[in-house]
């Protein structure tokens, strides 16, 4: 009843092309951001920051990166874990090799390394499509993880084979490392997700995004319109891997703190792919919702089963897998286009409510 766009007239194309053309949506997003940036850091405890919020933000950023490639440009990738590893290990080498380096610069350069690797593994995409491309990107996954495991230089010859996030400051506040405050890490992850979500949204509503979707929907027609397939696909690989690489660096520096290559194995790649499928392919909002679903739902289930029903932790874990699987199937049957589409439908219904048409 309150969600109506009646009376909101647009007099220019710029207003019509705004990300949130409806005033209520804009207010809602501003409220959510204000809550996330101000209220949450003041109220949440360390458990929430470390176990729930920061991983959610990191995975949301990863899903966003993969969604650029798979959801918008239509190239299936199972190399996400590998590209995250490139980001994480580059970030480690940069921050240990150049201790004075600004953290933002370190994150960006780590992203660039990942983008370069992504372009190399994206080259086969000109010739192979669909599932075959997915298999080809698996090569990236296994090769990269093997490489970081095998070559001691990447983990500074640490005998344990792990890399530990060095303590680094930004604006005089400790951001990475074990001693950094969880709230600071949360804010860092939140800022980066906000910035990249905005940049991604801008990209996909511009010419670049349209050429990605054109290649995804009908590559022959796209080519005849004058879109160069190789350049367009490689740009998608580069930008996607850039974002995924930064998310990998975040996973290492802001969330886990200390990682081995096992953290970036193929299970991670699959998880991220599930996030964007459940959340919604080709949707910025869907990436965030999918990450929320796969990160928050298991925790909520565990809390409910162990805390609520007094179950044993191990049996709760098994039950959690079953319930989660069932939920995934349920959501995919109800709406194959993911949670983002479900949200869109709900909003469309709400605009008319309480009238049916």
């Amino acid at each position: 009843m309150f969600y109506r766009e009646a009376g909101q007239f647009k007099t220019g194309y710029a207003a019509d092309q705004a990300i949130f053309p409806i005033l209520q949506d804009r207010l809602f997003v501003i409220a959510v951001l204000a809550f996330a940036f101000v209220v949450v850091p003041l109220t949440a405890n360390d458990y929430w920051f470390q176990a729930i919020l920061t991983p959610f933000l990191v995975y949301a950023l990863t899903a966003l990166g993969l969604n650029i490639l798979t959801g918008y440009a239509g190239q299936i990738s199972l190399g996400t874990g590998g590209f995250m590893a490139v980001g994480a290990y580059s970030f480690y080498k940069l921050t240990t090799g150049f201790p004075e380096m600004n953290l933002i610069v370190a994150f960006l350069i780590a992203g660039c390394f990942s983008a370069a690797v992504g372009v190399v593994f994206g080259l086969p995409s000109l010739r192979i499509k669909g599932f075959y491309l997915a298999v080809a990107t698996l090569a990236a996954q296994f090769f990269l993880v093997w490489l970081f495991n095998k070559v001691g230089w990447f983990y500074n010859y640490n005998p344990s084979g792990t890399i530990d996030a060095p303590p680094r400051e930004m604006f005089g506040v400790l951001v990475t490392g074990a001693a950094a405050k969880p709230a600071v890490k949360y804010l860092a992850a939140l800022s980066m997700l906000t910035v990249f979500a905005l940049l991604t949204k801008n990209l996909v509503r511009s010419a670049v995004g349209r050429s990605w979707m054109a290649i995804r929907d009908m590559d022959i027609a796209a080519e005849i319109i004058g879109i160069r397939p190789l350049r367009t696909k490689l740009l998608a690989f580069a930008i996607s891997s850039f974002v995924v690489g930064i998310a990998g660096a975040e996973l290492f520096a802001l969330h886990l703190g200390s990682v081995e290559t096992i953290a970036f194995d193929v299970t991670l790649s699959f998880n991220i792919l599930f996030m964007i499928i459940i959340g919604g392919l080709g949707s910025v909002m869907g990436s965030i919702m999918g990450a929320a679903f796969l990160v928050l739902m298991p925790i909520a289930l565990t809390n409910l089963l162990v805390g609520g029903f007094g179950m044993q932790a191990t049996s709760a874990k098994h039950l959690e897998f079953m319930v989660l699987g069932a939920l995934i199937i349920f959501f995919l049957i109800v709406e194959p286009h993911g949670l983002a589409r479900l949200w869109q439908i709900a909003k469309d219904k709400l605009r008319l409510w309480p009238f049916p048409h």
């Binding site: 194309y13 940049l199 801008n202 990209l203 511009s206 010419a207 670049v208 995804r216 080519e223 319109i225």
Partner: protein, 268 residues
Amino acid sequence: MAANGLIPQKKEGGVLLKAEDISLSFGGVKALSNVSFEVHEHQVLAIIGPNGAGKSSMLNCINGFYHPQEGRITYKGVTRKQMKPHDAAAQGIARTFQNIALFKGMNTLDNIMTGRNLKMKRNFLLQALYLGPALKEELEHREFVENIIDFLEIEHIRKTPVGKLPYGLQKRVELGRALAAEPDMLLLDEPMAGMNLEEKQDMCRYILDVNDEFGTTIVLIEHDMGVVMDISDHVVVLDYGRKIADGPPEEVRTNQDVIDAYLGVSHD
């Protein structure tokens, strides 16, 4: 269009495209053999022929999607042996497809906006910021696209995903996407297939308007003889990959080879 007395006879320009001895085969199958014809500027040229005559293959050769094994294509005075679809698009050749080839996941507006792709020069970093020059460019092209939307009378479906549109409207959106590139030459592969009479009339009107107002040269493939005889200035007839007739509609209509091969009986 031919002779209703009200519309002055339009002037055709020089040769825009010249196909000489085009031969194309797929393995043992000869799709085209020694086909030659000319397209003049500002002309509406129809390519007709029975199914499998090689009409679509001919269009695919013109816009660089197939590479004929023999023969030359001279476009705007430049002779070429091979060409990439991208180059054809850059030189002002746009087309629509027999089976609609729209981008199903996007709405009407975005589909037509992709047609402007070659005209948009800002790099992706500026586009990511959506500020200054990139925003200005986006809005300029939006305005151009809105004119096309206005011309094709599809304002009401501007924001509708194209997959949800009825067939006739999808065809119209596809024409819009081709027009967005401001082509010098427009290739239409069965623009009226599967349409009812009213939709066909609308489509004919758009094609003639494009030809008249923008001076766009049009090469079209069509099976509806009424339409072909009505709107085209020149007709090329293919049969089994060979050209069997080439001339103004009245002439082709009475050509015995054409009647034998295709029309079967006279339409009078």
